[in-house]
Symmetry: C2
Subunit: 290 residues, 2 copies
């Protein structure tokens, strides 16, 4: 990891970082934990608006969740990465501790409705199933649900959100760590129009497509295996104009500074329709303490 | 394809087939097109309830969507396949033509709200973006949205659903084929507690997990590539108790009647934590005419 002073020398001091959700959403927490020093944030209603804000220059970069360790990839953001041609300039991994949050004095057995983002409800499926006569309601986002129950002074409702939302909104945490299993992590990508990694890059993400012929994926993976290049993750998404053909998003260890990585990508180019570089970047585990 | 009489000789005559959604949902259309002769259907509120109905014996089998060619896999149903230990006994592929449906006489410019299942809204993203001052509202399912606007006699709202829902509910189709791109297909799995394929099986689905070590997926795919076994599809889902390790769902051409397929699975067993057979079955393209 670069020292803060190094990191901030790459990053413009007046830069704005966009995220999806209301203030205190996990994406905003990831921004605050990642940059350490204060940066301006821009809340957006949808992931699409985050990418548009970065595309238009309204924001310098955007922090978007790409995968949760319990519920899997956030596929919409894979699609948006390709549609908007932005670069990944950093990865941040945030431990996620979901909390049941209510207005002060409200007790668990008074609660009839629990509001949160569908992803958070999904992470807490077992906890929700254990409650009697409680309805889970999908809403805009985690922190926004907490804000809503505070503003409407609801006594029969709670929200699932991070402890930061409770602390800063003057709400109470009724129960901590309510996700199905611990630990629970979310991986975020920091995306930008310009492709300079904020710290010394260690891994590279690409996207490619190929005809769905027998053994095609095997051949694609072999260009890395034959050169002892480790893969982190591969994810497929449909090619919308060709039923049952796919884009493959792949992350490997190494950068284009290394000859074997350049050779692997040239080799991959021989057997695919196209290969696009999404970025070389560093990955950093964030702490989730106050 | 077996003749209807053969198919029905495997299938108990009083069998009930469960599906998610309201009557005329695409899943129910898939059931009716697949079986040709009338079968009893059981509408369920959630995918989980479909699997539970089959697990408990309330239904003989369930028809669940597994992948759409525009929006990708329905990941929840991959997870449920493993949680409920049901077998895949058939695959059905249904062409999906999404329609904008309203009460008779309602005009496009009167519409302020459009209700449908989130997957259908996602398939029609470009159409929805082209409308001014219209809000898309996620709801329980496609056909259920059509039923709701009819029962409430809404004049400012429409639903996105199949043409069958319009025809049978006495509603009007304002616009056909509104999905982003044609053709648009959904693949369904017919799942059952007993594992007998309804027609002569041609393909096999398995799920396995392995440590996320360098080259692990490459090695797994090589057991098929080395034996010239064609793969249709591979999908990864998180191993919920081990962050960043995955289950892999894989479908290959062939069945355990073939020695090379048995050898491939034995070989796969050497390098994985576990391999589970989900079923050998036939895939059939359904027609979407009346």
């Amino acid at each position: 990891m670069k020292k803060d002073s190094e990191l901030m020398s790459v990053f413009p001091s007046d830069a704005v970082v966009a995220f999806q959700g209301a203030p205190y959403a996990f994406s905003e927490i990831a921004i605050k934990k990642y940059f350490v020093v204060p940066v301006s944030t821009l809340p957006c209603r949808t992931f699409e608006e985050v990418f548009q804000a970065v595309d238009s220059g309204q924001a310098y970069c955007g922090m978007v969740p790409i995968e949760n360790s319990l519920t899997g990839s956030i596929h919409r953001n894979y699609d948006l990465l390709l549609e908007h041609k932005l670069s990944i300039i950093a990865e941040a991994v945030l431990p996620i501790d979901q909390c049941l949050i209510a207005n002060p004095g409200v007790k668990l057995d008074e609660i009839e409705l629990i509001y949160s983002h569908p992803q958070a409800l999904e992470q807490c499926r077992q906890f929700l199933a254990s409650l009697k006569n409680v309805e889970a309601v999908a809403s805009y986002d985690t922190a926004g649900s907490a804000l809503m129950i505070r503003d409407r002074k609801l006594r029969n409702a709670a929200a699932i959100a991070g402890k930061w939302a409770a602390r800063d909104l003057g709400l109470e945490v009724l129960k901590e760590d309510i996700q199905d299993l611990s630990p629970n992590f979310t991986r975020f990508f920091l995306v930008s129009r310009q492709g300079t990694s904020l710290e010394t890059p260690t891994r590279t993400s690409i996207v490619f497509s190929m005809k769905n012929i027998p053994g095609a994926l095997f051949k694609a993976l072999s260009v890395f295996a034959l050169r002892d290049i480790d893969l982190f993750k591969i994810e497929s998404r449909p090619l919308r104009n060709r039923p049952w053909d796919y884009f493959f998003y792949l992350t490997f260890v190494g950068t284009l500074e290394e000859e074997r990585c350049r050779n692997a990508l040239r080799h991959l180019g021989e057997i695919t329709f196209f290969v696009t570089l999404l970025g070389s970047y560093a990955s950093r585990m964030l702490d989730n303490h106050e």
